[in-house]
Amino acid sequence: MGKLLVENKTIVTPGEELAEGMDFLPAEGTFRDKDKIISSGLGLVNVNGRVIKTISVSGKYIPKTGDTIIAKVTNILMSGWILDIDSAYSAVLSVKEAKDFIRRDADLTRYYNIGDYIITDIVMVTSQRLVDASMKGPGMRKLIGGRIINVNCHKVPRIIGKKGSMVSMIKNATDCSIIVGQNGVIWINGSPENEIIVVKTIKKIEQEAHISGLTERIKTFLEKETNKKINIEKVE
């Protein structure tokens, strides 16, 4: 016995009543107050059977174990590097977790220097939000050249697309290398004209992420900008 008080997939605001009745289960972004389920922030409400959650649409990146991100080196210590991950918290990359083996007395600036951007994984987040990074995984490296843009990290899934289909479509159309960090930091490298098209496309996805038919619209947009025909591969 329970009643939904809002329409699924609509925007809800903090303190808004989402459902009443003990049947519903409050998940991420919601809490129970007596027999009501309440939203604990601004988000898109998502009802799946009896489980109600809200998906954040705004706000800074919150580091999660397993995320692959793009970070900027802001400080170098004896034991490693301090990274700005575009979040409330910095991450630490210890010497042991760098991509290659580094001798004890080596000059760390020769590997990653202040201002360098790197692709790295988040391997641990403590309850006090101390964040550990590691570059041991595949594809981890220092980024050379290219440019960095910042997007709303909540739009990253749409920018990447199902199994990477959206970002692949953009890469193929523009011949650019594109790396999308889960923290909303994106690295782009290609010819100037094509990079500008990539940035325009990503900004368009950011603004129109919630409107249906996104993939078709982006395909049309890219075709117009690059004067190339694009084939969208079916993704299972």
Partner: protein, 235 residues
């Protein structure tokens, strides 16, 4: 003689016209514009972010810091000298206390949420406009909040209780005046800001609180609409 008709013709329980927008300052993590009559407030939220200096860090909970400032050209009459003053500091503090009940500080330890409130134009009710703007801006910034907060000044002008006192009423000379700014937490109706300037009977205070709750529930709808307008799926 009594205050029989409001200076601008409003009903006694009517707020001035309100306009609210979310996300209008691109560099901020969250922001809002809130206009109540002639009083205009901007609020920008930066955070959660690292707190400096380091000794202010608290490993169990984060910090909420509010700042309030009137721009030098914001009032009728003399220029407002820029710089922190005691009034601004006090307003910043009560603003912080008005919002704190809906924020769970334990969710962002070792960091701070900074809320900057700036007023380019003032006509009384500035701390209330600031709180209304701040509440929208915090939600816009994706901060976890159990509810939203609205605020309004109830006044006693001579023999009448009125909602949303403007400057002409605050400085009314035909009788005594009381100015009672209040902030109300939307769902529970609890009061998180209560101040009073002037003199007031106990019965009038009770009535004023009820009037504030009613007025704030209308303001609350406008605040939520501002957020939904920014994020709503446009079909």
């Amino acid at each position: 003689m009594g205050y029989t008709k409001r200076n601008d013709g409003r009903k006694f329980d009517e707020t001035r016209p309100i306009e609210a927008k979310a996300g209008i300052i691109k560099r901020a993590d969250g922001s809002a514009y809130f206009k109540m009559g002639k009083t205009v407030a901007y609020a920008a939220v930066y955070g959660p972010r690292e707190i400096h200096p380091k000794f202010l860090q608290n490993p169990t909970k984060g910090k909420l810091r509010c700042y309030y400032n009137m721009m030098p050209f914001s009032s009728v009459g003399d220029r407002v000298r820029p710089g922190a003053n005691r009034r601004a500091k006090e307003i910043a503090m009560v603003t912080e206390k008005a919002i704190l009940p809906v924020i769970d500080l334990s969710k962002f330890p070792n960091s701070v949420i900074d809320v900057f409130i700036e007023l380019p134009q003032t006509d009384a009710g500035t701390r209330c406009a600031g709180i209304c703007a701040a509440s929208i801006a915090l939600a816009d910034a994706g901060i976890l909040m159990s509810d939203m907060v609205a605020a309004v000044s109830i006044g006693r002008v001579d023999d009448k209780l009125v909602v949303d006192l403007d400057y002409s009423e605050e400085s009314y000379e035909g009788g005594t005046v009381a100015d009672i700014p209040m902030a109300v937490i939307s769902r529970t109706g609890e009061i998180s800001l209560l101040q009073m300037d002037g003199n007031l009977s106990r019965e009038d205070l009770k009535k004023a609180v009820e009037m504030a709750k009613k007025a704030c529930s209308k303001i609350d709808k406008i605040q939520r609409d501002a957020l939904k307008n920014k994020y709503e799926v446009k079909k």
